[in-house]
């Protein structure tokens, strides 16, 4: 069982289907998830200041709760949540001063015991591509996927260690499992412009548009990402383009769910799985509603 940490953006934007799709997908593949109780924002940005510990508190609290719940680890969907949780955890494992200070405040002695997973990692390591391949009902023929990673999933590689940060082939491998072809294109691991979109919109738009243009020139029919902010920027930068020049942007769950028969089918399968055991409220998101 994994403790599911939704994070603010994924929950606030739940209408876009990322959360529903991801949880239905996992449930249909027999991965049990349980939403973490009383979760709070991860902080959204990893606190780089070495002498400031407040920024670590909410993340450590969530990590400690995951540990207390006795689950296999923490599941994150959003790249930024994954980034922050994994790095905080990495620091808590090594930094004795942080252990002491954070522990003193929270009244615990957390030393980075929890494992933090990103959805992609769960699909790769806990489910496995052969299993996913078996579950495919409509192979994604004819789709040319551009897989865009951005920053948060990859760097710093010493702390995240999810995948080769210079030449990541994680989403590609997943998409190829579904029968899709993938394209290689530049800027795959570049920044989308991130939070600049709020203060320096043209700057963020330029950064994102570079990614979109490169992907389209490489022949992509759609671009996928695992990050809500990347998705937002990649979409926003295309707003002024004529409809036919736009490149569809989707979460990486969308093609997965499509190939596996659609979200309703998956939810039904998950429900039947649940009948057998303890029905989890996997895709209800009820805790913080």
């Amino acid at each position: 069982m994994l403790s599911y940490y939704p994070g603010c953006t994924v929950r606030a934007q739940q209408d876009d289907g990322f959360e529903r799709e991801a949880l239905a997908l996992l449930a249909s593949l027999d991965i049990q998830t349980h939403e973490l109780e009383e979760w709070e924002c991860c902080g959204a940005v990893y606190p780089e200041a070495r002498d400031e510990y407040v920024g670590l508190l909410s993340s450590v609290r969530a990590l400690q709760r995951t540990w207390d719940a006795g689950s296999q680890g923490m599941l994150t969907l959003c790249s930024a949540c994954f980034h922050v949780m994994r790095r905080v955890n990495h620091r808590m494992k090594r930094d004795e001063e942080a252990q002491r200070r954070v522990g003193g405040y929270l009244g615990n002695m957390y030393q980075g015991e929890t494992k933090v997973f990103h959805l992609l990692e769960v699909l790769r390591d806990l489910v496995g591509y052969p299993r996913i391949q078996e579950a495919v009902v409509t192979p994604l023929k004819g789709e040319k996927m551009a897989c865009y990673y951005g920053c948060m999933l990859l760097r710093p590689k010493e702390e995240l260690g999810l995948v080769d940060s210079e030449n990541p082939r994680l989403m590609e491998a997943l998409m190829e499992t579904l029968g899709a072809t993938t394209v290689r294109f530049p800027y795959q691991t570049d920044c989308c412009g991130a939070y600049h979109v709020y203060r320096e919109a043209p700057l963020a738009a330029a950064a994102s548009l570079k990614v979109i243009t490169a992907a389209r020139e490489a022949g992509a029919t759609q671009i996928i990402t695992a990050c809500p902010l990347c998705k937002h920027n990649l979409e926003a930068c295309q707003a002024s383009l004529p409809q036919k020049e736009r490149l569809p942007v989707a979460y990486m769950t969308a093609p997965l769910v499509k190939a596996l028969g659609g979200v309703q089918r998956l939810e039904q399968m998950a429900f039947q799985n649940g009948e057998k055991g303890d029905p989890s409220h996997a895709f209800s998101g009820e805790n913080s509603q």
Binding site: E166, N167, F185, Q188, E217, A218
Partner: protein
């Protein structure tokens, strides 16, 4: 006993940090010291004569010199002692420079420490025993390990001086890396044209014996008398019978990647390394041969008209004696696939400089044409990236590989000459052209159109366009701007690295490797070809990155060192050898297995006990073999083993004096 103490100022080196007057005054009060004096430079002629006079005037029989490290001037003072008719080991050095003045700033405390160091030396010298050394004969035959240009040059020089040389090379041909090159900077000489005559000369020289396809397996002994075991790998081809026709190679059905072309072409399982190979006889690569894997095939034996194929051949161990060893084992190039940002191994058109060099070479995989590996077409725009894995503390080697700046300039020139219209861009950190005519060569490359951009490349990415080009993204420091170049071919100047087995071989030879795996010279400035092991000399890149002229110069230097040794014909044995006090020795022989020089053996002594004669086994040391490491003395339980110059009694006296 009359001990004299001499305290050196070493100009200001010691005097500024240590109160030499106080040390001298204090020395006068030490036991058995009859005379003490401070001198500005003890190593100078004036200083030497001061000591000499004092020995005469005060009838000194022991001398303590408080000065620099014994590594610097011990022999100077030992010679002076000998000239005065005293045993050279009656001088003791208190190192108050490296061990004191250079590492301390507090003068008061440093002076106290210097006094202690002198006190120790005085106590030790009081128990000094006279030591002598013997003259040992030298085997006048040299071993050169590695048959690249450095090894070949060293072998030729020693052989020309009239001494026999054995040249051991692990590949099936001599020639080394230089044989892979097309042209050489800064003259654009054809590499093979200048190398092959030397290879042939080495092969035909009456004083040189080649062991190709062979490796050094074990080394024992010491300067003048090394015993070396050479493992001659089975070539499976009888060189006496083989006439080099090449029929076996033509008929061999098994193809494997050709290492000589960096894997960009195929060779057969029976092969000669390259067309001008010396010796030009094929070998069977048993790891890839079908016959050796399955027992079937045997085509090469069938087509061989002289019956030279011998599958039953075995590896052979050859034992030889040598007086001197030249190590010229060269280097490997780093495979840059750990630096993901350069996409090496991710895109076929990202290659290393050596791969480009092989393409430029007329006998290379493309017969001298430069092509894009992805589609076989000629590249129009080429980006060169310098310092790939060099000068990179984070993800590579901290040192500069030294030759990349120049060979990249060479590549741009060659491309411009052979394929006009090729655009060459070079991303560099610094261009280092220290060498005769090198700066001019680099200038020429720039004038002929190579575009140099000062800055590092952050990313090389497949562009995914119709031409399958590669996007090189970097920073141009001169423009202070990010730049992007869509290239047809990217060439990485990868780092030169020590041989992966350098440490193992170094261990056998008793020489050390530095942090980067290169062999360490005896002195960074003044003994650059010698090693800590006497009689073992260094040549070429095994000692650190070098270009061809430098490697050749060092090889000649190493050769001369060996020749000097052979001309002398004798070596002085180490005087500070181990000694056994036979009365105390219990004969347990624990000392025997720890001796790295096999200098300890057992002998029988006859004793009279209660009027009866009886025989007893004790250890004995062969002084010619003992190198004075002291392992036996440290281990001896009964305290019977002692090391000359460092006897237990002397060491205890030192400790007791403090």
């Amino acid at each position: 006993m009359r001990i004299g103490v001499f305290v050196c100022w070493c100009g200001s080196n010691i005097k500024n940090t240590v109160d030499v007057d106080a040390v001298t005054a204090r020395a006068k009060t030490m036991p058995q010291v009859v005379y003490a004096q401070d001198v500005q430079y003890l190593c100078s002629e004036v200083g030497q004569s001061e000591i000499g006079q004092a020995i005469d005037t005060h009838r000194l029989d022991r001398v303590v010199v408080a000065a620099c490290s014994p590594r610097m001037h011990e022999t100077t003072f030992q010679k002076l002692m000998a000239a005065k008719g005293l045993n050279p080991y009656y001088v003791e050095i208190a190192n108050i420079r490296e061990h004191c003045s250079w590492v301390h700033t507090d003068k008061e405390k440093a002076t106290v420490k210097a006094i202690d160091l002198v006190k120790k030396a005085v106590a030790k010298t009081a128990f000094a025993i006279p030591l002598t050394s013997d003259q040992l004969p030298v085997t006048k035959r040299a071993l050169v390990i590695g048959g690249g240009i450095a090894g070949i040059q060293a072998a030729l020089d020693i052989a020309d001086a009239g001494y026999p040389v054995d040249l051991v090379e692990k590949e099936s041909s001599i020639g080394g890396k230089m044989a892979q090159f097309d042209k050489t900077f800064p003259t654009l000489d054809c590499s093979a044209c200048i190398l092959t005559p030397k290879m042939v000369e080495a092969a035909t020289h009456e004083n040189i014996r080649l062991y190709t396809y062979a490796e050094v397996a074990a080394v024992s002994g010491y300067v003048g008398n090394f015993n070396v075991t050479i493992k001659q790998k089975a070539t499976s081809v009888n060189p006496e019978k083989c006439n080099g026709c090449g029929d076996c190679v033509t008929k061999c059905p098994k193809k494997v990647p050709n290492e000589f072309d960096c894997g960009s072409s195929k060779r057969k399982a029976v092969y000669t390394l390259f067309p001008q190979a010396v010796p030009n006889k094929p070998v069977i690569d048993r790891d890839n041969c079908i016959y050796f894997a399955t027992g079937k095939c045997g085509l090469c034996a069938k087509v061989c008209q002289t019956g030279a194929i011998e599958y039953q051949q075995q590896d052979e161990m050859i034992e030889n004696q040598y007086g001197a060893i030249v190590v010229a084992t060269g280097y490997e190039l780093k495979v840059p696939d750990h630096l993901g940002e350069y996409a090496y191994g991710q895109h076929p058109d990202v290659i290393t400089s050596l791969e480009l060099e092989r393409m430029l070479n007329a006998s290379g995989p493309t017969s001298g044409k430069v092509i894009r590996p992805s589609n076989g077409k000629m590249p129009r725009r080429i980006v060169f990236i310098q310092c790939v894995g060099s000068r990179d503390r984070h993800d590579g080697n901290p040192y500069c590989s030294k030759v990349c700046c120049l060979y990249t300039a060479k590549h741009t020139l060659l491309l411009n000459e052979k394929f006009p219209g090729t655009e060459s861009y070079v991303f560099y950190m610094d261009v280092r052209t220290a060498g005769k005519n090198y700066e001019e060569f680099y200038e020429r490359a720039r004038q002929q159109g190579a575009m140099y951009l000062r800055g590092q490349v952050s990313k090389v990415e497949p562009l995914g366009d119709a031409d399958n080009r590669v996007l090189v993204r970097g920073f141009d420091g001169s423009l202070q701007r990010q730049v992007e170049i869509a290239a047809d071919l990217v060439v990485l100047a990868t780092s030169m690295e020590a041989q992966p087995n350098a440490k193992t071989l170094g261990g056998m030879l008793g020489i050390s490797t530095d942090l980067n795996g290169f062999y360490t010279e005896a002195h960074a400035k003044l003994r650059p070809v010698e090693t800590q092991a006497q009689g073992v000399y260094l040549a070429g890149v095994c000692h650190g990155p070098k270009d061809i002229p430098e490697a050749v110069s060092q090889a000649s230097g190493a050769a001369v060192k060996a020749i000097i040794l052979f001309n002398k014909g004798q070596v002085k044995s180490v005087p500070t050898t181990a000694m056994v006090e036979k009365d105390r020795c219990s004969g347990c022989m624990q000392c025997q297995p720890v001796c790295p020089y096999e200098a300890i053996s057992q002998e029988m002594v006859v004793e009279r006990v209660h009027g009866k004669e009886r025989q007893r086994a004790v250890a004995t040391v062969n002084r010619a073999l003992c190198q004075g490491c002291g392992a036996c003395a440290g281990l001896c339980r009964s305290g019977a083993m002692d090391l000359g110059g460092f006897t237990s009694r002397q060491l205890m006296a030192e400790v007791d004096s403090l």
